[in-house]
Symmetry: D2
Subunit: 324 residues, 4 copies
């Protein structure tokens, strides 16, 4: 059966609610909203919740703001600050924290380049702490950062690379930035998800197979992601749903045709999707035309949020200017 | 009514034939095929043909080769040579021809960057002819090349820029390279169209509004294009067609439902497409995930073909190596 | 004889003063300084001054600030504002001014990419004025922008391209951004020169042979440039001077050796420079290791200054954020 | 005292020979030459040789070919093949070898980007061996590749990163590609050095402090490097030498002036170099103007050589075409 592809906990819960009209057992949700951003915190509290959602136990926080896609600088600053605040609350509480920031994805595939581009703007300090043999600083913490590339270009599992780096550089926390997929175009480039569960195998735009999480790396892993594409299959599925809905309105419940529609819903939809997408060779995505500019903006917003959350002495005034 | 968007004369003719089951009056088509490439020459011979097709009178040659998308180097070389041969036949016959090659599109939008990337690989010689005050050469002709950018980043009509350059540098022919849109994903990045009619307003992935043709520039304009995207509307339309077809098989001709399907076909399809795409904000495209690499390959193939066609002394052995 | 290569009027005057110990006739100089920037205005008032300086009549304003090279964001903002103020004073006074901004130089040669990189950040509006058929706006003026590339990659004289664009788009003023050469490393990436005389043949890092000035284009041309390299010949010359000075201190005036030093000064220095640089193939430059980052910063500062100077409604708060 | 900076064993030996007029004890040198390439093999055989040279025991092979800098495609192919042959002879003899290729240096600093750019063209296969659970293949060996970035942008020692990857992915050999510094401009971009001793702390254009060698990584490490810059200090030193030589010709041996020249040679030269370079802030390099294109060419040549040396089924015909 066709599985809507989404990396957003928010959307998994939304799909469940659409079907069952109730909250997922074992899952607690709260929302907070200001004029510009809707913050939704989905807390997957136990194993039951995790199984229903197909997502690991932990906290999934979503920042939704359609304005993210537009060029309003003040709103973007505001979102960097909300991101910083939410992120900070999830970081281990400890003086002189040591953090490793990892950018997943492929530099050369635009919608997948969010991670590497954000990481390139992270304020990296670990080498300075080493050089000056400092243990602590009032303004900065010890931060390192790497974008290891993707398996198709390195031949290496990202997990193997990061595990080695964690073993040798001993950070207290790993922050992973990645591009995600959404089921709804309206969330693409308009949503940031923060989670305490790291990155699961098979998530993201490319193929990353080994998990990057506390279990595999031995330190807490916080993931920050933005959906940058919708699967073409999702667009096709949306279309089919709408066509069926259009017919259903005109068909009488109980009639032969109505049951045909129902039957189709169950059995043939996936076949139709495959038939539509087959000449497309499956390997297509749906993406806004101005994706290059959008990724540039988003990577700055994400980097700003992480820099503010990590370094005690960095605030918005600093991040907007001349940090490479 | 929904208009399938395509820049390929081949597809306009295909649509006509699907509906009318006959050749377009005023249009002559011939095909030639070897193991790897299907060459179709659509000759729009008179005003009637031009009106039906919505394309100007002139020759439209299409090279189709699914292999273009894969990494087979020999096939790519072969296609460069076929392109060179077809192109050469369209160039003005004249010794010491002077050519200007123009790359349309936006460097920073991957599927639209085909033109600028191909033009960056053109073997440019005009300044050398000027420097050494040469009038002719056995191996090279006088070639200049420019990628003027798009209106959104320059504020200028591309046509204004090119017209000025043609007036001051006086080429005998202009070759324009551009990214196109196709109605079928199977043709995306697998088809090259050469035409003698230049670029029409509104063609291409971005917005280019002034025509670049013999009428506006005063010299013959040959366009070389590759479809690099499919409109999301086209994917949606394909889906709707297939759903209706699936239902039609089960509905009896003459029944109320059958006529409902027919009715839908005429009236509501466009509304459905709009409803599906509305949250996508209209401004989306469907594109292969590995588009960045594909554009790199295609730009090399196109540049190779143009370099071989223009310069008498350049052949395949030369173009594959170290020309920046 | 060896000619120190410099594009800075300031340095030409400095060389004259070092030798003659007086001001150049026909040239007026005034200076203004705050804590961070030294503004020098060299006004070449008549033909005599122009001939001695080897520079056209007109105003040459230099902003010098060693801090430009460092990462101090506040200082950079300050310099953008000083640049904007000086630039504004040179613009034609007229409501609804129309401006064309031109980025000279080669995208792919880092120290020469200043112009194209700055121009990519200019706030372009001309197409919007056309689209909405507006004649005037309180916040914006009509701005277009282009980076035409260099002759080595286009085969075209930059002047030919720009002249055509000016003829077709009819701006009231042209602002040209270019990378320059300095005679002193301490000025490299630490100096901005604004002049009312446009760009002369042979200036800049690459080869640009046709002048871009009011005479050739028919509208005022304001040039904004930053020295981003020093010729290797200049470094060699500096070295030779210092060696000679070291010897001179120890040689008695009037002695045979002293006159040998003097003689060398006149006759052999150029030969020595050539001998040192010969294996270097002449085509080398001296440049800071972190040139890529520096060019990025400088292009932002220059673009900020131009955007503030041109558009009545843009100030520092806007330019620092999210303008692509 | 001023130390000429060079990463080439060839130049260290050259300097020794210039001074002592004899071969370095413990060092064996042989040369082989065809029309286009001079291959010099410097074998540092024992501890004495290593100490005199300041280089570790092992083999240093240099390919010198001035043509490398020009655009002759056939010569470049030839050099790829010579590189492949020399490299192959140094690889561990073993069926189904597993290799990790590492690109050192900074993507964003042109002359330092040689390693990352070459590595991006390496034919990577390890993930395919894993995916298809293959142990061996007739045409390919298991190759992985990574460009870890530099300490200034990651905060991590390159050695820490690579050590972790070697521990987790267990290659049999590591091939490291890096940009070097030469003492002579004529060798810049015209020389390839292959060595069996890996990368020593402080080598290369940037700062890499932990060694990458068999001792630190536990597997043989073969380094492939190309000098892409000359230190400005080297250029200055060359100049001073030539000035002194010019004076010396005219000064009588034994005269006071002659001894002054000698004295200067020993004591003041370094001071002069510092005095010349001081305003340059020490952090400058001398580089050809067309460095961007040169690095592109060189990275292709190096990648071609490595691909041919590693994979039994890849030859020149394959590497010249469409490998990303």
């Amino acid at each position: 059966m066709f599985q809507v592809r989404t990396d957003l906990a928010l959307e998994v819960r939304e799909l469940y609610q659409e079907e069952k009209q109730q909250e997922i057992p074992g899952v607690k949700v709260d929302q907070e909203e200001d004029t510009d951003v809707l913050v939704t915190r989905v807390d997957v509290m136990d194993q039951q919740g995790a199984e229903i959602m197909g997502k690991k136990q932990g906290m999934y926080i979503t920042l939704e703001s359609p304005g993210l896609r537009k060029a309003d600088a003040d709103l973007k600053d505001h979102i960097s600050q909300v991101l910083a605040k939410e992120l900070k609350a999830l970081l281990p509480e400890r003086k002189n924290l040591k953090a490793l920031v990892v950018g997943l994805g492929n530099w050369n595939v635009t919608p997948d380049a969010l991670g590497p581009k954000a990481v390139a703007k992270i304020h990296v300090t670990r080498h300075l702490f080493k050089m000056y043999q400092k243990e602590s600083d009032d303004h900065m913490i010890e931060v390192s950062a790497i974008s290891p590339g993707v398996m198709g270009t390195t031949g290496l599992e990202t997990g193997e690379i990061i595990k080695g780096i964690v073993e040798h550089s001993r950070p207290d926390v790993v922050v992973v930035v990645d591009a995600l997929a959404s089921r709804k175009m309206e969330r693409v480039n308009a949503t940031i998800q923060i989670s305490t569960t790291g990155i699961s195998p098979g998530s993201g735009v490319g193929n990353k197979r080994m998990a990057l999480d506390e279990e595999s790396l031995g330190v807490p892993v916080i993931a920050v992601g933005v959906p940058t594409v919708v699967d073409a299959a999702t667009l096709t599925n949306d279309t089919i749903q709408l066509v069926i809905k259009a017919f259903s309105k005109q068909a009488q419940a109980g009639s032969e045709f109505y049951s045909m529609l129902e039957k189709l819903k169950e059995e043939e939809k996936y076949g139709l999707i495959r038939e539509v997408l087959e000449p497309y060779n499956a390997n297509v995505m749906v993406t806004p035309k101005e994706i290059d500019d959008i990724i540039l903006d988003l990577s700055q917003i994400i980097a700003n949020g992480i820099n503010i959350a990590l370094h005690p002495g960095i605030d918005l005034k600093d991040v907007n200017r001349y940090i490479h």
